[in-house]
Subunit: 278 residues, 2 copies
């Protein structure tokens, strides 16, 4: 159980990504490594309680690890949250979700970063990969230009969608659709009986694109100092607060009770809400 692990063992458990394929694990480790190499000095160690860093459901069919590192006070990083969830399915298969998101503070208006890889069968997954806008893009067309047009972000989406295994995915949550950027990669990948496996799709197509988008986020978003006035800071703080609490509600609140039971779920979500509001 997690209570017997020290912080080193808990971080190791997180970094194991123990239930996913090697290409999937490598993808996540490379993204985390890119982030920590570049902005590690701005991050505090994970301070989540041990039983939130690793937890299971009562009957042991679902396991998860969460790793949250807040930015130091002087940095623009609010926090980085990584995690994995594994759950045996009644069908005999398993659900594996891996996720990495980075939130910035209201001292900058640059986009947040988000990747979710949701594999629900041996031959299919859903990928969400985006730099999430912090502002209404219609009232801020210069923002749309700077972060989404000038960066050519849409070419990555086009590139993936050109592959026969890939098709657009529509989240059932209208909130999720609304919060993502117009260049968001939101796709289903189904290899069916095709020549390529999901593992090859991750290694050859998802990994290179995800790494480039993380680099872009590190270069143009996390590392650029911005002058943000008082009024705008308040606006960003308010909007970010909605994003964070709504994301917990939609992303985790809808699945956690089902996967981990009411008790474990309520405890984890309660702790996360505290950190998200911090």
């Amino acid at each position: 159980s997690s209570s017997s692990m020290d912080s080193g063992a808990l971080r190791k458990k997180f970094m194991e990504f123990p239930y996913v394929s090697a290409p999937h694990r490598n993808l996540m480790l490379e993204l985390i490594s890119s982030m920590e190499t570049r902005i590690g000095d701005s991050l505090q160690p994970c301070t989540l309680p041990p039983d939130v860093q690793y937890f299971e459901n009562p009957n042991g069919s679902a396991h998860a690890s969460l790793h949250l590192r807040s930015g130091v006070p002087s940095s623009q990083i609010d926090f980085i949250l990584g995690g994995w969830i594994h759950c045996k399915l009644p069908s005999g298969g398993a659900l594996n979700i891996t996720s990495l998101s980075s939130y910035l503070k209201p001292s900058t208006d640059a986009p947040h970063f988000l990747i979710d890889v949701i594999q629900n069968s041996r031959t299919s997954l859903v990928l969400i990969l985006d730099l999430t806008p912090r502002k209404d893009l219609i009232l801020n067309l210069d923002y749309l230009k700077t972060y989404y047009e000038d960066t050519q972000l849409d070419t990555y989406r086009q590139c993936l969608q050109g592959l026969p295994e890939v098709s657009p995915y529509f989240s059932p949550s209208l909130y999720i659709r609304s919060v993502l950027s117009p260049t968001a990669i939101l796709v289903g990948i189904d290899t069916g009986d095709g020549e390529k496996s999901i593992e090859e799709m991750i290694q050859e197509h998802i990994s290179p694109i995800a790494k480039e988008i993380v680099q872009l986020w590190l270069d143009k978003c996390a590392s650029v100092e911005k002058q943000v006035g008082e009024t705008e800071r308040a606006y960003l703080a308010k909007r970010d607060q909605i994003i964070k609490s709504k994301t917990i509600e939609v992303d985790l609140g809808s699945s956690f009770p089902r996967l981990f039971g009411q008790e474990v779920s309520a405890q984890i979500l309660g702790v996360l809400r505290e950190y998200y509001n911090a």
Copy 2:
């Protein structure tokens, strides 16, 4: 030429939709009729100059008609703009665009309405059909709920996308993607060598959905009195102004010079900009 036509003849020309199929024409006439039956008393006659209500390019290969009716001062309707464009293509085919959009005034925050049917070959078209949000949906989750979740708008999109001839369409303009709602219908329809013709797709699938969405807009948006305070009016006016000027730029400004030549194009767009700013 348009200068010899009186206002009755110009309206008749607009309502002819002379270059499209009967089901396509009927779709547009039914939408216009639904609008005029319900809110006709709130609309002034079209006051566009005759040479903007109907125009051609110098060599006569492209024709267009525009019909703009402003709301009376006491109404919530800003204006309704309908139009058609026909252009012979060098390939021997033709490009036919029909469009109807309704903008509301800042005295209400309810969504605008928009339909664009862009047929660029005998077997394919692009459909854009949406209630366009007036506010940032993240900062206004109640607005998302009222107009997009509670109305079940997404079921129309799902219904269309379930058809084998229909696939999601991604506008090359990130502005267009940003301005649309999360339930926007933005699809390509390609009948290829299939059993159904484009005309049948319009009649059986597009028409019923477009008519329901217009009704929904008339019931829940155009006809509901809202209490909008001073600050919010100013916000809505500013955001609408961006939408209107950017829509002219992206939607018409990018194609009109190519279709109608610099001179005709500059004149038409100049007049439209005046009306849009009014």
